[in-house]
């Protein structure tokens, strides 16, 4: 089949670091789906919420640098981290709406012989796979049915809020659909777009833990065998901090957490290793063995 449109790929810092598995699986899956992701050359940190909390204009500036680089490539920018999506999109929108901002950032960029006209669209990989690739292409590649694996589709906040351009800000459905396409069973998950606590896990652990606990509890109550994530930070909180939740609340959760790209990869029959599975602190192996016809 003919190649999907080409994109600049913006991995973002956190998948470079502790969440390599996400980047790994994303590349494998996109390769299989002929989604051409060319990593944006010399991209820099989007600034996330932290930078925005200290310096507004500079936060916009560093986002804008990435946008400017992508504009050079004449391609839209695909991200895997919703926080990056949010930050870059925000700069994109605010520069368009606010001439003063556009001017200030524009002058700043000149210092690096860069300029940004505002033509780049920032998109999350999930949305690209669901909307651009679509159901048929995906179903066509299923080698390894997930046998109705019960998955809690977890979207987190920033894929749809505040902009709500790609899906409903309160009850998104994109990931649910994708999961059914790959043979999994999305469970009813009313907290699917609620907050995991994000950075608070570092700065206000008790709050972070209780928010994450709500998510785990709700997933369990609704019979989820694992949670699908689309965000490295959410993933970190749900997965790496599951022990802490258990310690802190005397609970006993062992819910594997997998990136949506890893689930697609499994359904496509890729090996766990190639998808960075088994790196997690809450092991998914037992579950997958139970569920997958082939487990490599």
């Amino acid at each position: 089949m003919e190649t999907q449109s080409k994109f600049s790929y913006y991995p973002g810092c956190s998948v470079e670091g502790m969440n390599k598995a996400y980047d790994k699986s994303a590349r494998v899956v996109c390769d299989a789906l002929k989604v051409d992701l060319a990593e944006l050359n010399d991209w820099n940190c989007c600034g996330a919420s932290a930078y925005m909390s200290i310096r507004e204009l500079r936060a916009h500036l560093i986002s804008a640098r990435n946008l400017a680089l992508a504009e050079k490539e004449r391609k839209d920018l695909v991200v895997v981290c919703p926080a990056c999506l949010n930050t870059l999109t925000k700069t994109n929108h605010y520069m368009a709406e606010n001439p003063q901002l556009k001017k200030t950032i524009g002058t700043a960029l000149k210092a690096a012989d860069l300029q940004y006209f505002g033509s780049v669209k920032v998109r999350h990989l999930l949305e690209v796979i669901v909307n651009d690739v679509g159901e048929n292409e995906i179903k066509a590649r299923i080698k390894n049915s997930l046998k109705d694996l019960k998955v809690a589709p977890y979207y987190g906040c920033q894929l749809t809020r505040p902009f709500g351009e790609v899906d409903d800000p309160e009850f998104p459905t994109m990931l649910d659909n994708l999961l059914t396409w790959i043979g999994a069973k999305p469970v009813n998950y009313p907290l699917k777009a609620k907050c995991c606590g994000g950075m608070l896990m570092m700065t206000k652990e008790d709050v972070g833990l209780s928010l994450t606990k709500n998510l785990l509890e709700c997933a369990k109550e609704n019979g989820a065998e694992c949670i699908a994530t689309i965000c490295p930070l959410c993933h970190m909180n749900l997965e790496c901090y599951q022990d802490n939740v258990n310690k802190h609340f005397g609970t006993d959760y062992h819910i594997p957490v997998l990136y949506f790209t890893q689930l697609i990869g499994l359904a496509f029959g890729f090996s766990r290793k190639s998808l960075g599975i088994d790196d997690e602190l809450t092991p998914s192996k037992p579950l997958l063995e139970k569920h997958l016809e082939v487990i490599r």
């Binding site: 940190c45 505040p162 700065t203 206000k204």
Partner: protein, 190 residues
Amino acid sequence: MTDTFLEDIYSIPGGEKIKECIQCGTCSASCPTSYAMDYTPREVIAALRAGLLDRVLKTNTIWLCASCYYCTVRCPSGVKLTDVMYELKRLAVEFGYAEKRAKAPVVSKLFVDLVDKNGRIDEVSLVSKFMLKTNPFGFFGMMPRAWKLFRRGRMPLKPHRIEGIEELKKCASTIEVTGLHAAARKTVEA
């Protein structure tokens, strides 16, 4: 000075909308962390409009905002409250109101320093620096998890520095002080 601060809030994109707040509390009740806040988000707006800056800038409220944007999408008056919170964080840090023990400002500052230095963040240095700064004992407390992550190759130890870092610094220097909230800065310095 109160007025300058208000003007400053108004100056961020959509900021003037807080004039239209009808104090309905949708923000507070939509906020996942408001239960842990000294003042609910709605009260922060009320305090802002009443000019009680100390109250606004000293609360833990602003540092508990996790940027989930529920308040923003649900506000019936179209207040972009999450953005307002960012602005308040900036003002609090800039003018040293930020609560000394608060960890959020610390991590944010470290974050900014790292980005300014390398152009990217490596979580390892961020987390370790942060832990050493805020709670050295906790640092050892988290060693086990760190070790597990390390064994799984999830703890890259060498930070990546982007090639364009010097240029990025150049760009940044052009907007060192010319912030949208330069006005507020001046009044305080004066």
